[in-house]
Symmetry: C2
Subunit: 227 residues, 2 copies
């Protein structure tokens, strides 16, 4: 499903080169539940942005469903980002002037869904993250963790086959965090693929496999015994 | 030092009233180290913004150094915010077009420090959070946790007597998070006051007292035995 081969991402700043990824080769099969861990600045978000087709690598290749992403045209990429992948950003990336409901509706607007069905689906997604009472609030009228949950609802609303979540519980207390992990578990149990960046071991424990990144390289890749 | 009496914060949205705080009365003495915990949306950031003189209550009173904050004029409030209080925002609040170094210098610019000394102090603050190699990066050229650490350096640069940190380790791996807690410990050991919002019990364990907030009210207030 997801295969990267010697993936590099280099940022050039003046005379300095920063290698955020220095040759990452990983394979993730359909239906896997993978946690990505590692120190701050080690390259986790960079890797997630590449897997999510939100950025292009400097070197190396990335195959999604056995197709080279670099060879896809914009329409194909947009279709994959909208229909197949749900992305929870580390910094939420909500539209500041839109309500929580409208933010969650966005992927369905791009998918061309009629407005009545769209609103109903968006309300259901907000209910899953327990934010029904905040549907009409704009992001600056929500708490930090509530914004994060709106970003999670938006990533789930289009029933993605691949969920990419970058630190989805960073601003949540453990009870709310566990409720969100319960929502992810149901998505995974339905046969979908989940890749989750986290720095919290108790959140990584929900995954079946844990990849550790350090300085832009894969340091460890451990599957948990089936329990 | 910090005393709130029956503090309320109410947001009016159309016909709806949201009581983010419903009568909070707490006392924090100089030199204490307090953790504030509670579910997402319970009112922690609202309370921190009031204690940090960044917002005004709807009802009740707030005394800082035994002076009623509501009776202070703008100059006095600005002096307190700049000289006495260091604030780490849950959402970092960095200037997007300024480098990490310039963001950390900001409180010193307001304090009127000459530029050579200012740059030196800002570099020292960045060194404390291990970001010397990223001083020339703008926020969008930094990882999530690196941005958080720039926000921490900016809050510490003016040697505040009160540090208010809202979820300072939400985006940090445990090793980096513990290093930041080490920096806070040194600030506290020098006799300063620390108030820390966190949802991570291992971070709250650094504090000597833990206040739990639920639905805008104080639910629990526990001091750890001196150890
Ligand atoms: N400007 C606003 N207008 C309306 N409601 C608001 C506004 N700001 C905050 N709220 C509401 O007030 C409540 C408390 O918000 P606050 O940010 O203090 O929570 P919190 O405890 O910091 O949560 P978190 O742990 O998720 O950061 C939330 O339910 C939120 O929806
Ligand atoms: N646009 C950019 N220009 C220059 N350097 C960048 C840019 N974006 C990221 N970096 C650098 O690349 C490295 C990896 O960043 P990345 O965001 O992937 O880290 P991360 O593992 O997600 O960290 P965190 O856990 O703190 O979120 C960091 O050291 C960062 O400073
Ligand atoms: Mg990141
Ligand atoms: Mg908050």
């Amino acid at each position: 499903l997801i295969e990267t081969r010697d993936l590099w991402k280099t940022y050039v700043m003046g005379s300095e080169e920063i290698h955020a990824l220095q040759g990452v080769s990983i394979q993730i099969m359909r239906g896997e539940y993978v946690a990505i861990m590692g120190p701050s600045g080690s390259g986790k978000s960079t890797l997630m942005n590449l897997i999510g087709c939100l950025d292009t690598p400097s070197r190396g290749s990335y195959l999604l469903n056995e197709k080279e992403v670099a060879a896809m045209n914009d329409d194909e990429l947009a279709r994959i980002r909208n229909q197949e992948i749900g992305f929870v950003f580390q910094t939420f990336n909500l539209l500041p002037r839109a309500t929580a409901l409208h933010n969650v509706e966005l992927p369905l607007i791009y998918a061309g869904m009629p407005s009545k069905e769209r609103q109903e689906r968006a309300r259901q997604a907000l209910e899953k993250v327990e934010l029904t009472s905040r549907a009409s609030h704009r992001p600056n009228e929500l708490s930090g963790g509530q914004r994060q949950r709106v970003a999670i609802a938006r990533a789930l609303v289009n029933d993605p086959s691949i969920l990419l979540a970058d630190e989805p519980t960073g601003n949540l207390d453990s009870k709310t965090g566990n409720e969100i992990m319960g929502v992810f578990e149901r998505l995974h149990a339905a046969g979908n693929t989940i890749v989750l960046v986290t720095h919290e071991p108790e959140i990584a424990a929900y995954a079946h496999r844990s990849i550790s990144i350090r300085d832009g390289l894969v340091e460890k890749d451990v599957r948990r015994e089936a329990d």
